[in-house]
């Protein structure tokens, strides 16, 4: 499949933005009291969010999970609003109520994110139902982990989406771990994609460290869904290079395994391709890196300078009150 150059650049850009964003977060986490709560990063997995979102139209929806930064940035979320939210500031995209774990960015059609493992699947089915109900040619993508595929919600969601032939694409980001549990320790099925047959729907396994492959698989599934032929289950095989969260000592992840996968890092991989195709020079890549770092620094500045929410604001947004 021929991937348009601008798509390749888009993917590279969003991967690099996510990496810069998260590297900075990792540093900020070391400063006591700077960032509230957990910090769950996707280092090494950026190709999934970037490849998926590059294949979508702006008015397609995504439903993400606890590991959402790459998904949301790739979908076009404003890094400043995300960063401020992660800091817990009033200017955050969710006014400081969410923090990092359930960032919701309706502006880019990411209307809600859930940190309940597997929770996104039934919701994405509902969003896709609305699209079909209104006879739109839009689709919904649900991004979830390999661990989530053990939850009952996975099963109910896939069955219903298949039954009603809804325009939803289930993207399982199989990073080989669910918390501290290796893939083989939480299920015996060789690949999550094999489960597609049980609903049934098309299932595909792709190299999740290759943004172009993710893009191609998503595009195909999107066409399938938008064409009224129902859902697809895509499994992106990738790897969680950092711990589950920033305090995880990763004692259960073999060092050689981490090293191996670091070599498969999706960012240099796409960069090399773009270099060898003569699309980008190393100079340009360097400038992109600078630009990303600058954008993230600006986001941090914005977050740092933003005010905390006032106490009374805690009571806002529980209910729609004009109703």
């Amino acid at each position: 499949m021929q991937v348009p150059v601008e798509k390749k650049l888009e993917m590279l850009r969003s991967m690099m933005l996510t990496r810069a964003f998260e590297d900075t977060l990792q540093e900020l986490c070391q400063i006591q009291g700077k960032i509230p709560g957990m910090m769950i990063l996707c280092t090494g997995q950026e190709a999934v969010g970037s490849g998926v979102c590059a294949a979508l139209e702006p008015n397609d929806f995504i439903i993400s999970n606890h590991r959402s930064h790459s998904h949301l940035l790739a979908k076009g979320a404003d890094p400043k609003a995300l960063m401020a939210e992660i800091f817990g500031k009033r200017t955050g995209c969710n006014k400081g109520k969410s923090g990092t774990l359930h960032l919701s960015v309706p502006e880019v059609n990411a209307p809600c994110t859930t940190t309940v493992v597997g929770g996104g699947l039934p919701i994405s089915v509902g969003v896709a139902f609305a699209q079909k109900y209104r006879k739109e040619k839009r689709v919904t993508v649900c991004l979830f982990g390999d661990g989530a595929a053990d939850e009952g919600s996975f099963h109910e969601a896939l069955n219903l989406a298949s039954l009603w032939q809804l325009p939803v694409v289930f993207v399982c980001e199989n990073n080989l771990y669910a918390g501290a549990q290796r893939y083989e320790e939480h299920t015996r099925v060789k690949s999550i994609a094999e489960r597609a047959a049980g609903y049934p729907m098309p299932g595909a396994v792709v190299d999740g460290n290759d943004a172009l492959k993710v893009y191609a698989a998503t595009l195909q599934a999107r066409d399938h869904a938008a064409g009224g032929r129902g859902p697809t289950l895509i499994e992106c095989k990738t790897y969680r290079c950092r711990g589950h969260g920033e305090t995880d000592p990763q004692h259960y992840q073999p060092k050689e395994e981490i090293a191996l996968w670091k070599e498969r890092c999706p960012i240099p991989r796409l960069q090399t391709e773009l270099l060898s195709d003569g699309i980008l020079s190393s100079e340009e890549i360097h400038r992109m890196e600078e630009a990303m770092r600058e954008a993230v620094q600006e986001a941090v500045r914005f977050a740092e300078e933003s005010p905390w929410p006032a106490i009374e604001e805690a009571f806002d947004d529980v209910y729609v009150t004009n109703s």
């Binding site: 439903i63 359930h102 809600c112 919701i123 609305a130 919600s153 729609v320």
Partner: protein, 325 residues
């Protein structure tokens, strides 16, 4: 005025709102093609009338049903989904409690979830504790949800229409024993606002706060006590959340006595909330101890004499009232 059972009243509300707003759709188990074929039931006939695009029979998948509502509502539709029996709410509870109720807050007010979850509840049909288990106290303890429990056909209709038009997730709990008892329902369009209790009977000696099927029990007891010269005020909450504290407090301030009646089990039931509100805000007007008349702290048994015993009745209520007069 038309006489309808509560099932038919719910049906009319659904029909009117579906006619009014194309974004309203229904989903649930057996809401279209049903193992019952009974015009008194809430969704009877709606599949024929509105077709399979808007009346969706679902697989036996409570989590998916509730998730459907969460997703469809945030994408702009107005789902009305059904959980067949209250105990199965457990299976949908993550979607309703952790998602429907919280995702708006988590979005900082950007996303809205205008959905209704209809739940059938109540003891009295001999099916036992995995079918009969009143859990309104659970949902009433979840900020982000509204909770409605109508006691009459007219209330059910007016409240359900408001619930469907509400931009918040509303849990609407119907006691099945009320489906078949006819009551007057205005023909013309009407809405009953959520959050307003209704004084179903006035009286100055004691306030009985109750809701749902137990309102009938309270009215029966009140009529019987009237003959003894005891005047019972019956406050039907209609909506547990938002709670109409003003109406409760105004009544207790006049009567000085409070009994709360509910079918749910005693410990941790919503009676405690009503008692707390009154003891906080109208303590000085209280003339007598609080009483509650509730289901006992047991699962609902099947054996007919035991199930009858489980359900609070007018004798128990009268005894409680007499104790504090």
């Amino acid at each position: 005025m038309q006489q309808l059972g509560m099932g038919q009243a719910v049906q009319q509300a659904l029909r009117e709102e579906m006619n009014r707003d194309p974004n309203v759709f229904l989903a649930g188990e057996g809401i279209g093609v049903s193992i019952h074929f009974n015009p008194y039931l809430p969704t009877h006939g709606l599949l024929d009338e509105f077709g399979p695009d808007r009346v969706k029979d679902t697989p036996v998948s409570e989590q998916a049903i509730a998730g459907l509502a969460v997703g469809a509502s945030v994408a702009g539709l107005r789902p009305v989904v059904e959980i067949m029996f209250n105990p199965f709410f457990t299976l949908a509870s993550d979607m309703i409690v952790n998602h429907a109720a919280k995702l708006r807050y988590l979005s900082g007010g950007k996303s809205t979830f205008p959905m209704v979850v209809r739940i059938k509840t109540g003891a009295g049909f001999g099916a036992g504790c995995q079918h009969s288990h009143n859990l309104e106290a659970w949902v009433a303890h979840c900020p982000g949800l509204k909770v409605v429990m109508p006691s009459t056909p007219a209330d059910a209709k007016g409240l359900l229409k408001s619930a469907i038009r509400d931009d918040n997730p509303v849990v609407f709990i119907e006691d099945m024993m009320l489906y078949f008892a006819p009551g007057p329902v205005p023909e013309e369009e009407f809405l009953i606002p959520l959050g307003k209790a209704d004084v179903k009977r006035e009286g100055e000696h004691v306030t009985v706060v109750t809701w749902s099927k137990m309102v009938g029990v309270a009215l029966k007891a009140a009529a019987q006590l009237e003959e003894e010269g005891i005047h019972v005020e019956v406050v039907d909450l209609r909506t547990l959340v938002p709670l109409d504290k003003e109406t409760i407090l105004a009544s207790v301030r006049r009567t000085g006595r409070l009994v709360v009646l509910h079918e749910a089990t005693r410990t941790g039931g919503f009676a405690g909330e009503v008692c707390a509100v009154v003891t906080e805000e109208a303590f000085s007007t209280l003339k007598a101890p609080f009483r509650r008349v509730t289901g006992p702290d047991i699962p609902v048994p099947v054996s007919p004499p035991l199930e009858r015993f489980y359900i609070p009745d007018e004798e128990k209520l009268k005894a409680a009232i007499r104790e504090i007069l």
